[in-house]
């Protein structure tokens, strides 16, 4: 348990937070643009982990010894696979319901999520059981005072940081980013301005999926055990992180994710039951006290 402010736990919390942040961003971007809680988003994360797993065994022999190249290939494949699945889910399941009551899409998303999870565990080549994730990058520990920082921590933090900086630039600087912001603020106005709404939505799913895929790889390397239902809890917690930060708000999702990662690490160290429950406790508190989240803006219904 140790002292109240334990540097080791802050490090672990930041590491966990980085993974949550990558997942939470997808939730928040999709919510911002289509007002859908994409239940299947956690499963895109799981798919990323499996894609990374497969890619490792496919390319390991080919690039033998060059760890950096291998890791890069695996990352790209994880991101691309999850992005494609996210794109496909949007095209097949969410798009036809775009202008139907919101709950229809939510329920469909639950269906998509169930489908992915059970399909993975039913599919003989994958199966429901746990798999040990290969050591893509050998772990090395660096001791700083009482705390241990492994190279994996640094990789998790760095990959998350690079992707988040990239996303921020994309949203702030590019035409696509401006279109995304326009659609999230007012769909009708954006359409009148000539923005191809469906294209923007597709892109959002692609980016969100890619980020979840990257998170899947990082999670596989950090907590080296994968299984078809591994996306459920991180997905839910990342979603809660997005709500905590203010859903629809990109910096909010990052902030919420790091708070969540740290809160969970501390709570789990204290008591594992509290660790399991802290996310929901945070969710319920946020929704009751400040439903718009830390950085979210108030959206009032006009009557």
């Amino acid at each position: 348990m140790g002292p109240l402010i334990n540097p080791q736990q802050i490090i672990n919390g930041l590491q966990l937070g980085s993974i949550y942040a990558l997942i939470a961003l997808g939730y928040t971007m999709v919510y911002g643009i289509v007002r859908l809680i994409n239940f299947a988003h956690g499963d895109f994360f799981m798919i990323g982990a499996y894609a990374a797993y497969a890619a490792f065994f496919a390319f390991n022999a080919m690039v033998a010894g060059r760890t950096g190249t291998l890791a890069f290939i695996v990352l790209v494949i994880a991101m691309a696979t999850s992005a494609s699945v996210a794109w496909l889910a949007n095209k097949l399941a969410y798009k036809p319901l775009r202008y139907k009551p919101k709950l229809s899409s939510l329920i469909t998303a639950i269906g998509v999520s169930m489908f992915i999870e059970y399909f993975f565990s039913a599919f003989p080549a994958i199966g429901a059981s746990y798999r040990a994730f290969p050591e893509i990058i050998p772990r090395r520990d660096i001791h700083i005072g009482p705390a241990v920082v492994s190279n994996l921590v640094l990789i998790d933090l760095a990959v998350a940081a690079i992707l988040m900086i990239g996303l921020t630039l994309l949203v702030r600087r590019t035409t696509l980013g401006k279109a995304m912001r326009a659609v999230s603020q007012d769909k009708d106005a954006a359409r009148l301005m000539g923005i191809d709404i469906e294209m923007v939505i597709s892109f959002t799913f692609l980016i969100g999926g890619a980020f979840a895929g990257a998170a899947g790889l990082l999670a596989g390397m950090t907590y080296p055990r994968i299984f078809p239902y591994m996306g459920i809890l991180p997905g839910l917690k990342a979603f809660i992180a997005a709500v905590l930060g203010g859903i629809g708000n990109i910096p909010g999702a990052m902030l919420g994710a790091y708070i969540m990662g740290i809160a969970e690490t501390f709570a789990s160290a204290y008591n594992s039951l509290i660790g399991e429950g802290i996310a929901f406790a945070i969710l319920i508190l946020v929704l009751l006290i400040r439903p718009t989240g830390l950085l979210g803006e108030k959206i009032a219904d006009k009557i």
């Binding site: 709950l103 939510l106 639950i110 059970y118 399909f119 003989p124 839910l236 929901f280 319920i284």
Partner: protein
């Protein structure tokens, strides 16, 4: 005239009961089939009570099986651990009924608590919070050693049988139906239709939303208690999120807002589910291929997606059959 006054629903229930009992005596219906019918009847309670929350009042609960879990654990703890009931002792049946009701009441209290977030939250947010509550309840069972923790509560006496279950199921349907077809029920419907307008024609929307959750949870608790005393086990995994989604699929398949639809879908999907279970197993046996039970859930998931995409209104829409619906009081 007199004959017409005899409640149609009661007549159908009695007929159904008699037919199944006779077929069972004649060995046309075997014990396995009777078990599936019992399960279907329990799902009738679960689906109609969830429909009261989601379909009639327009709220959204994703944690319905959490309520059932409270009912199951509380009633089973009472019957098994506290009173140590046994079906062979004549007086114990009455105590069992008391245990089931106590389970329902405990679930209702939890429903009341969960009803409160619904006052501030709508739609998808509410869905997530109810999901969270359901998971918290499940985690609690998983960690409570008195009721077996992750192993579950074992050795529950088998009090549930076709007779007790059909009575409970018919009573639940009648109470929910009568509630819906009263002024109170119309107040609940108005919240689903337009909450602001409901409030502005004088409906205390807060009260009715909490009421829907409380009633819905009560009946889910009853169903959970019956289930525990049928399969003689209460286990945390029976009450998780996916189980709640199964009930959700029932109300969407049947038609949100239609009690008739919920009843039909409860039977249809319970039988489909068992059919798939058997079909997949015999397919695997026959072909020797590794075809796992998870395919059943894959099909369920696809069913849910297809309903949402292609038949949003479900089997019945919001319509009721004349067997369920009461005539207007004239």
């Amino acid at each position: 005239m007199k004959l017409q006054k005899f409640p149609r629903f009661l007549a159908v229930v009695i007929l159904f009961y008699a037919v199944i009992e006779i077929l069972f005596k004649l060995d046309v219906v075997n014990g396995y089939l009777l078990h599936i019918i019992n399960l279907s009847l329990i799902y009738v309670i679960l689906a109609t009570s969830l429909n009261l929350i989601n379909g009639i009042t327009g709220q959204f609960s994703l944690g319905h099986m959490g309520f059932a879990g409270v009912g199951a654990y509380v009633s089973a703890a009472l019957s098994t651990l506290v009173f140590k009931l046994s079906p062979s002792k004549p007086g114990d049946m009455l105590v069992f009924v008391g245990c089931i009701v106590a389970g329902g009441l405990a679930a209702a209290v939890v429903g009341l608590l969960i009803g409160f977030p619904s006052l501030r939250l709508k739609g998808d947010y509410l869905a997530i919070v109810t999901l969270g509550f359901g998971e918290i309840i499940r985690t609690a069972f998983n960690n409570l050693d008195v009721v077996g923790g992750p192993r579950g509560l074992l050795g529950i006496p088998k009090f549930s049988n076709f007779t007790t279950i059909i009575i409970a199921s018919a009573l639940s349907v009648v109470v929910i139906r009568n509630l819906i077809q009263s002024s109170h029920g119309r107040a609940m419907l108005s919240i689903r239709e337009n909450e602001v307008a409901a409030e502005l024609v004088g409906i205390d929307t807060t009260r009715y939303k909490v009421m829907a959750f409380t009633f819905g949870a009560f009946f889910a608790g009853i169903a959970g208690g019956l289930l525990a005393h049928l399969i003689q086990l209460a286990h945390p995994t029976q009450f998780g999120f996916i189980k709640s989604v199964e009930v959700l699929i029932m109300i969407y398949a049947g038609g949100v807002g239609s009690i008739t639809g919920s009843i039909l879908a409860a039977f249809g999907l319970t039988f489909l589910s068992e059919g798939l279970r058997l079909g997949i197993r015999s397919l695997a046996d026959a072909t020797g291929l590794p075809i796992g039970g998870e395919w059943r859930m894959v099909i369920y998931a696809l069913l849910l997606i297809f309903i949402m995409l292609f038949r949003n209104e479900g089997l019945m829409g919001t319509k009721e059959s004349k067997i369920i619906e009461l005539p207007e009081v004239e």
